[in-house]
């Protein structure tokens, strides 16, 4: 007897859903441009920015939504965001090249936030174009101040990135201690005094415009505590004569990849059972995704992204802003507003939700040696091209049969397959999970991985074994047809291929 299919079918919202229904168009793209192929919908990123902005409006908050550029290298997405309201949308860049790219795509320096580790060149260009520098440490502040003096640059807007809120005992009152993962970025709250002193010393070269944090967690409680603490520290800064206006709460708003909660729950339960050995493995060579069986008890934590998320993206921001604060009791949105603070957010993954697909050609299909009901499906890509697995995201691709939907003469129905890549390497699996598809694919079919624009499209792509790296195209809807152009040729114009005569 075959197992019931354990699907993890993707959440697909309208524009992407109608693109997926145009199977001949997607096949023609792969025919012309090769496999793998990245497809982006730049309009959707603007709609997502608008969804974040509507949360701001609901809470009467001012401030920008900064796109975390590192989530995707595309020009089309950055150019489309550059065309949004300059007061509402900015960009967060984490390298010299990202900064150059943002400027070339139409962002003016005042809409740019420079974060992450910074070298002198990156700092110089950020200061020169009037970007805001999100300061990692007092050392970085000293370096920036020196640069500004040596090169006669104007006064630079800076945010102070803070960390290690949990060790902060000064403003307790919530009664309990919430632990957080240690971060390599930011100035520990306990050492902030040194930073304030340095900021005062360098007032001729830098102006503190806000405080920032980013916590790598899905937990609202940790973030709410950090936010509350920042609001109070803003007042401390003002009391010393500094004039910060904004609290930057970073990103980490999340994306829901899998549509159905039940599918996600069934699959994760089955994983525990497979690890315990009470059902057949769900994965290549019985991989447990971090779970292990110790004497009949499951130990360890599944290193998996929570693929079904009922609250993610703008909804998560709304939830964070609305819940009563842990110490002061007032919701963060109220606190921000009452303390006259602007709010900055830096969503990456959540801002490019539903913005893209990764298409791949099926090259070969054959039964696995040990189980004739399961198949190896070899794809024209490798694990670096769709790095969902690398980020712990488990979600099914959508099968796009060549020549449109076909009768299934064998009538086999759902089938479990292992998706393997094009590298001559045992470890090159697109996912270690046994993936169920509604029917057995054939060579020449296309698989579409949905929602890869955030970190999964080009983040880990490489040239190993001289395999081709995916091209990227921008697609927009033109009435009942789709129009496409290479990513680098996209500009946010109404008639990208010229005004009709």
């Amino acid at each position: 007897m075959k197992d019931a299919p354990l699907y993890l079918r993707p959440r697909v919202d309208p524009p992407l859903a109608s693109l997926l229904r145009d199977v001949p168009f997607l096949h023609s793209l792969v025919d012309a441009l090769g496999s793998p192929l990245n497809v982006l919908l730049p309009e959707v990123v603007a709609e997502n920015a608008e969804r974040f902005r509507s949360v701001y409006r609901r809470h009467h908050l001012a401030g920008r939504v900064y796109f975390a550029h590192k989530a995707n290298r595309s020009s089309a997405l950055v150019r489309r965001l550059a065309a949004c309201d300059p007061a509402a949308v900015g960009i967060d860049v984490a390298s010299l090249e990202e900064l150059r790219h943002a400027l070339s795509c139409g962002f003016t320096g005042d809409r740019v936030m420079a974060t992450g580790p910074k070298d002198r060149e990156f700092l110089w260009l950020a200061a020169r174009v009037g970007a805001t520098v999100n300061l990692d440490s007092t050392g970085e502040l000293e370096q920036l101040a020196r640069l500004v003096r040596e090169h006669g640059l104007g006064r630079v807007n800076v945010l102070a990135r803070l960390s290690e809120f949990e060790s902060d005992a000064g403003h307790g009152g919530a009664g309990t201690r919430v632990l957080s993962r240690r971060s390599r970025f930011g100035t520990p709250v306990a050492a902030a005094e040194e930073l304030w002193t340095a900021l005062e010393r360098h007032q001729d070269t830098v102006e503190l415009t806000g405080l920032a944090y980013h916590l790598d967690t899905t937990g609202l409680e940790e973030k709410a505590r950090a936010l509350e603490r920042c609001v109070l520290m803003m007042d401390e800064c003002r009391a010393r004569g500094l004039a910060p206006r904004a609290v930057d709460i970073g990103g980490g708003f999340g994306v829901g990849y899998v549509a159905d909660a039940g599918e996600w729950e069934r699959w994760t339960t089955a994983l525990s059972e497979a690890v315990l050995g009470v059902r057949p493995a769900l994965t290549w060579r019985g991989h447990g995704y971090g779970l292990r069986n110790e004497g009949g008890t499951v130990r360890g934590a599944a290193a998996l992204y929570p693929a079904h998320r009922p609250v993610a993206g703008p909804g998560y921001l709304d939830r964070l802003l609305s819940r009563p604060g842990p110490v002061l009791g007032r919701p963060p949105a109220t606190l921000l507003l009452e303390h006259l603070n602007d709010l900055y957010v830096e969503p990456g993954r959540a801002l490019v939700d539903q913005c893209g697909l990764s298409l791949v050609r099926v090259l070969d299909v054959r039964p696995t040696g040990d189980d004739p009901t399961r198949h190896l499906v070899r794809l024209g890509m490798n694990a670096g091209d769709v790095s969902l697995e690398e980020h712990g995201v488990l979600v099914d691709p959508v099968l796009l049969p060549r020549g449109g939907p076909r009768d299934d003469p064998a009538g086999d129905g759902p089938v479990g397959v292992h998706l393997v890549g094009n590298l001559c390497l045992e470890a090159d699996l697109i996912t270690r999970r046994l993936v169920y598809l509604p029917g057995l694919p054939r060579a020449g079919d296309v698989l579409a991985f949905v929602n890869t624009a955030g970190y999964a499209m080009d983040f880990h792509a490489h040239h190993a074994q001289r395999q081709p790296v995916a091209r990227t195209v921008a697609v927009s809807s033109a009435g009942d047809a789709w129009r496409w152009c290479p990513d680098e040729d996209y500009w946010p114009l109404t008639h990208p291929q010229g005004v009709p005569a």
Binding site: G175, D216, T218, E222, R238, T269, E338, L340
Partner: protein, 445 residues
């Protein structure tokens, strides 16, 4: 009854028959084992004392800390036991999900550490869960932690195998019930009681209840979570079934309102799960003249779960509030009745009028302390809402300028006060934000 120590009062809890007209099972006698009547308030008093006793007697008066992964009743019992022996107690937990329990634990002197949430930007090679690190910290050299380890400690099971189980048999006149129903948390009570009952009569059937996977019931784990419990052995149970929080609250309400049992949601889940499961058994027994007996555990009491109920079934706590309230005004009433004044006019009113208004700032105290309009008074909106109902601290003759961050809340209160007969209450248009943006002066406390 006279005791030398409260710990002697642990156990020997009553077994109470549920009136058949409540559960409707014609051929089954259903009994509740009232573990909520233990001195610290729950079924966990027994294992907490069993597990902690050897540590406590050894370490009494020293500088040790009893530590346990618990966000509920085990933590409560251990905190009290530790205090009784002059030791500290620390609870480490994924999340304190019931605020009253958190506050209760703090009252008992517990230290609470909450583990971090899941990473958003995941590193799949980092498979060390926070619990692994917790265990590392416990076994560091020089550690003074006394870890009771409730999910793996066999003394958790023994507490019930030697206490709860035999008590049930004794109270049923030496007979073993046909069914035993328990919620599975640490699996201690279900495993221990099942062991004791089976030793008397192996025919007893054991039903384990787990929380529905997407749901949360205090003290019950989901089917995935029970696999992480060292004491959990699927062979203990003849069947395992899920219950939802809604069923738990239904059961709790029945036990409270019909049976005089002040049960919390965990006991409610056990009752509801028992009745649901036994209904089929009862149908088969109908007309055969045979009778069966079943026992479930009422784990703890209702009082700590009011916010849990409020979140899921607010109507159970619903009662209409009396007096004036801004919430009763419609948007059109607010627009029709509220008087507004913009920043320029407000400044003139304050500076030039013979009877300048009292400025009431409705923001939080920290925001007020940081920056406010000079001479203004701070009444936080929550307090103001209370005052409009019970009585305002200013006369109707006093002109009032209400200010909030953006002029939204103040508008509602201006409308409400006008309706209440205050002739001159106005809302600052655009609020403190507009005031600041206009460059009007704000002062610091």
């Amino acid at each position: 009854m006279r005791y030398d120590s409260i710990t002697e009062a642990i156990g020997n809890t009553p077994l109470v028959r549920i009136d058949p007209s409540v559960h409707g099972l014609g051929s089954i006698d259903l009994y509740a084992k009232l573990e909520m009547l233990n001195p610290f308030g729950s079924v966990k008093d027994r294992p907490a004392w069993y597990m902690a006793r050897p540590h406590l007697e050894e370490a009494a008066g020293g500088d040790g800390t009893v530590v346990e992964l618990s966000s509920g009743n085990t933590a409560k019992a251990l905190a009290l036991l530790a205090g009784l022996h002059g030791l500290r107690f620390k609870s480490v937990t994924n999340r304190m999900r019931v605020p009253e329990i958190k506050e209760l634990l703090l009252l008992l002197g517990a230290e609470i550490e909450e583990l971090p949430g899941q990473s958003e930007c995941l590193d799949p090679t980092d498979t060390d869960d926070p619990l692994t690190r917790f265990h590392q910290a416990l076994s560091e050299p020089g550690s003074t932690y006394l870890h009771t380890d409730q999910y793996f400690n066999p003394r958790n099971v023994a507490a019930h195998a030697e206490g709860t189980g035999p008590e049930i048999v004794k109270d049923l006149d030496g007979r073993v019930p046909d069914w035993f129903i328990a919620c599975v948390g640490t699996a201690g009570s279900s495993t221990g009681v099942a062991r004791a009952l089976r030793e008397h009569d192996p025919r007893v059937r054991v039903l384990g209840l787990v929380a529905d996977k997407s749901d949360f019931i205090p003290g019950i784990r989901t089917i995935d979570e029970v696999h992480q419990v060292g004491l959990f052995d699927p062979a203990t149970y003849d069947s395992i079934a899920p219950v939802t929080s809604q069923e738990a609250i239904d059961g709790m309400v029945t036990l409270i309102r019909r049976c005089g049992l002040l049960s919390g949601p965990t006991g409610g889940a056990a009752y509801q799960g028992a009745v649901r499961h036994l209904a089929a058994v009862d149908a088969e027994l109908a007309g055969t003249g045979r009778r069966r007996t079943a026992v479930f555990i009422v784990c703890d009491r209702a009082e700590s779960y009011l916010s849990y109920v409020r979140q899921r079934r607010p109507e159970l706590l619903g009662r209409a509030r009396r007096g004036h309230s801004a919430a009763t005004l419609t948007d059109s009433e607010v627009r029709a009745q509220a008087r507004v004044v913009d920043v320029d006019d407000a400044r003139r009113w304050l500076a030039e009028s013979d009877t300048p208004p009292l400025v009431v700032d409705l923001r939080g105290p920290h925001a007020y302390a940081a920056l406010h309009i000079e001479g203004s008074m701070n009444i936080v909106d929550e307090v103001f809402e209370e005052l409009v109902r019970t009585g305002l601290p200013f006369s109707k003759r006093t002109p009032v300028l209400l200010a909030c961050p953006v002029g939204e809340k103040s508008l509602r209160y201006a409308a409400l006060l006008t309706r209440m007969g205050h002739p001159d209450v106005r809302s600052l248009a655009g609020g403190i934000v507009a005031w600041r943006d206009a460059g009007a002066p704000l002062v610091r406390e």
